[in-house]
Symmetry: C2
C-alpha cells in the first residue's frame, strides 16, 4: 500500500457555540464528512467534557478524522489524515460550513514521502479563508 | 479552558516490520506513551488491516494520539495533539525508540493561538533525527 498521505490541519473560529457542544451532531457531521470524501468508517470514539467541549475521532480505512472543540471560544481544531484518492480538504470545508465558521485556516502536510527507505513529511500549503475570501499563505 | 495546543507530527522509518503489524503491542505502546506524558486516556479505537498494517487512535482528555503503520515499508506516521501541561514530543520519541526507528522527523505545530476571536496555527519547529544525531530544520 502507498505510504503517501495528506494530512489536513484546520483551525476554525466564529463557530456557533451550541453546535460545538453537541456530541451527537458533531459525530454525525464527521461521519458524513468522511463518507462524502469516500472514506470507509471503521470506528468512532467521542467524548463530552464537563462543563463543555467535545473530542472525537473517526477511524477510517484511509486513516483518521478528529475534532476538538471549545464552545466558549467558538473555536474548533480539526485534522483529517488520509491515504488514497480522497479529498480531505473538501471534507474539512464541509465541516467548517456546517459549524458556521467565519475564519478558517487550513494547512496541508504531505506525509510518508519515501526516498531510500526514509519517509518524511513537508508542509505543502497554508490557506486562510475569511469573510468569503481565500488567501494563500507561504507554507 | 485554554485553546492553545501542541500538535506533534512524527514520521518514523526503519522500524521493525513485525512490531508495526502487532495491534496489541501498538495499543499498549500508545496507551503507555500517553500515560507517561500524564495524559488521561478516555477511549481507544484500533483496527488491523488485511494483509497488514494497523491504524489506531487513543482519545485523551488533552486531545488525541494516533498511529498508522506500513509494516512492508518499516514506516509509521504518528500524531499527538495535546492541550495542557504535558510533553507530547517526549512521548513521540518514546514510541519511536520502542519501534526501533532509525530516522525520525518531528514537526511541532502550535494550534489555537487566539487573537481577537480568531484562532490560528503555525509551524513552530521541525527536527530530523538520524543515526543518533539531531538536526533542526527550518519550519
Amino acid at each position: 500500500m502507498r505510504t503517501e498521505g495528506k494530512h489536513i490541519l484546520m483551525d476554525i473560529s466564529g463557530c456557533k457555540p451550541e453546535l460545538l457542544n453537541d456530541l451527537t451532531f458533531l459525530k454525525q457531521l464527521l461521519v458524513e464528512a468522511a463518507e462524502r470524501a469516500n472514506a470507509t468508517v471503521l470506528n468512532v470514539a467521542f467524548h463530552h467534557f464537563t462543563p463543555q467541549g467535545v473530542s472525537g475521532v473517526v477511524v477510517i480505512s484511509e486513516s483518521h478524522l478528529s475534532i476538538h472543540t471549545w464552545p466558549e471560544a467558538g473555536y474548533a481544531a480539526v485534522d483529517f489524515y488520509t491515504c488514497g484518492d480522497i479529498n480531505p480538504k473538501a471534507a474539512c470545508k464541509y465541516i467548517a460550513r456546517f459549524l458556521n465558521a467565519n475564519c478558517v485556516q487550513i494547512t496541508e502536510i504531505r506525509r510518508g514521502e519515501g526516498n531510500n527507505g526514509k519517509y518524511l513529511h513537508r508542509v505543502a500549503e497554508t490557506i486562510l479563508e475569511e469573510d468569503g475570501k481565500e488567501l494563500s499563505l507561504l507554507p
